[in-house]
């Protein structure tokens, strides 16, 4: 496959798979019709992401990016975590094949969605300009 060794490592041994039963926020992004669906669970303590877990239906890239985002986000403050971009995830995995950059690289969006869900539940106003890119993108089906 055209995947980097890092991607294959995260695909082979995905980190933090599963759900958090009493999650403080859940982000659900993607569309299984297009081949990728990602659920990210977060547990927040003192404004920090104490735990991050995921469940994903999708290709190798979708699973590897999900796994990577949990590692990148764990221990970060909400503000820091919101700044993680798709490119950050791809870079941390030593890159993704161009065709996978869009459709399967949903993890940063999933994390954002989970944090926004947490903020909504807590009545916290999200910072300006946070948007879930994948919500406005379409797969061509």
């Amino acid at each position: 496959m055209m995947y980097s060794q890092k991607v294959m490592d995260h695909f082979r041994n995905p980190r933090n798979v599963g759900e958090i039963k009493d999650a403080d926020g859940i982000g659900k992004v993607g569309n299984p019709v297009c081949g990728d669906l990602m659920w990210i669970y977060i547990k927040v303590k003192d404004n920090r992401l104490e735990d991050v877990k995921f469940k994903t239906f999708g290709c190798g890239a979708a699973i590897a990016t999900s796994s990577m985002i949990t590692e990148l986000a764990k221990g970060k403050t909400i503000e820091e975590a919101l700044k993680i971009t798709r490119q950050d995830v791809a870079d941390a995995l030593d890159g993704l094949p161009p065709i996978k950059m869009h459709c399967s690289n949903l993890a940063a969006d999933g994390l954002k969605a989970a944090i926004l869900d947490y903020m909504k539940k807590k009545g916290i106003k999200p910072p300006e300009g946070i948007k879930i890119e994948s919500e406005t993108e379409k797969c061509d089906i």
Partner: protein
């Protein structure tokens, strides 16, 4: 390739039979010459070329070897059949009929032809991938010059009712082309009994070399060439002939004539063991394609709640090479058009696994897949948000 790789992706690429390579070697090492030359070296090549042509003709029961035109492969044969018949018969009509499950080289050539004023109608298939004969009948009109229907589907293995289709097509005075890439050398194909006017034949699909294929053109069929030049292949396909390739394809045809029924019996047993073993041991798994009208080497199964590319990668980590019909493993990021045409929902189509067997598979290969697959499916389902609690 490592010794312990289980290769079950013969529909994507096949191993050339060592006996074919042996037959080709003298035509690369020792003999050379242009088959059009009148000297001894040329005549030697010409005679090897014609022997090969006769072998291919015998495999499909063509009336004359001259009805076999060597090409560079199945894609060229498909292009030649569609474009050649369309342009040559434009005076008779501009309508072409195809099915929704044809190979991409058919579909894209037809799309290209619409730029030149041709109209194409695609007839639907049923849930097994069988062409709807009534719809076909109603689709052909007095402007229809050509109908193209694949003999058997490469992906889901469904074998069409080609004789019935031929009767319908000929009753309306159109030509029938069939892409028999997946069928020739695997199941008996008889162009006379089946009533075929043009037929695409692949070489590598029947363990012959790459870079060569053929188009059967029934004598008297109105067609124009795709490649113009020195007038080789009866003026229908110019370019100095690929003699080593043709010799290989001829040898592959001879081997198919001798071994096809043995191969088919052996492979269909392995196929059934594979399909039954999977359907029995893995919940929410379903067969894609027809249960009986099926190529002997094709097993295509889909698994709910998982995605095909991650399935293919997981099996690769266990040393098993297979294909999937998922969007993520295609260049277009769309799931298999064949499965979609069969009415399989997009999400379900994503979880399809194509295991295509070949002459070099052994019973142990099937057992190995049956051993590792349940664990892999279970792992991916545990990770998937689509999996219902009771299936985990």
């Amino acid at each position: 390739m490592s010794q312990n790789i289980v290769y079950m992706d013969y529909a994507s690429a096949s191993k050339t039979d060592p006996r074919v390579i042996e037959a080709m070697l003298p035509y690369m090492r020792e003999y050379f010459g242009n088959p059009s030359s009148p000297h001894t070296s040329g005549l030697k090549m010409k005679s090897a070329l014609e022997d090969a042509r006769a072998s291919v003709a015998r495999l499909i029961n063509a009336e004359k070897p001259s009805e076999i035109i060597f090409t560079s492969g199945a894609t060229e044969s498909n292009n030649m059949a569609l474009r050649g018949v369309a342009f040559r018969n434009k005076d008779r009509g501009n309508h072409i009929v195809a099915t929704k499950i044809e190979h991409i080289s058919i579909l894209n050539t037809l799309k290209y032809l619409t730029k030149f004023g041709f109209e194409v109608t695609y007839v639907p298939v049923d849930g097994y991938g069988l062409v709807d004969l009534e719809a076909l009948k109603n689709t052909i009109n007095d402007k229809t010059i050509l109908v193209t229907v694949g003999y058997a589907n490469n992906e889901v293995g469904t074998i069409q009712q080609i004789r019935e289709i031929s009767e319908i097509v000929h009753s309306k005075n159109a030509y029938l082309h069939t892409d028999a890439t997946a069928a020739v050398g695997k199941i008996p194909v008889d162009v006379l009994k089946d009533g075929i006017d043009l037929m695409t034949i692949s070489s590598w699909d029947m363990y012959g070399p790459y870079g060569i294929g053929a188009l059967y053109i029934k004598k008297g069929t109105r067609i124009e060439p795709l490649i113009i030049g020195g007038g080789q292949e009866g003026g229908l396909r110019s370019g100095t002939e690929n003699v080593p390739g043709a010799v290989g394809m001829g040898k592959a045809s001879e081997l198919a004539i001798a071994e096809m029924s043995f191969d088919a019996r052996r492979l269909s047993k392995m196929r059934d063991r594979l399909i039954d073993g999977i359907l029995k041991n893995i919940p929410y798994s379903f067969l894609n394609g027809h249960p009986t009208r099926r190529l002997p080497h094709n097993a295509n199964v889909r698994f709910s709640f998982v995605e095909g590319e991650s399935l293919v990668l997981s099996l690769d980590m266990e040393g098993i090479a297979v294909s999937s019909g998922s969007a993520c493993s295609s260049k277009t990021l769309e799931p298999s058009h064949v499965l979609i045409a069969m009415g399989i929902p997009h999400v379900e189509a994503q979880g399809s696994l194509l295991m295509s067997l070949g002459r070099f598979n052994r019973d142990e290969d099937v057992e190995r897949v049956l051993e590792v697959l349940p664990r892999i499916i279970k792992g991916l389902r545990e990770m998937s948000p689509l999996t219902p609690e009771e299936v985990r």
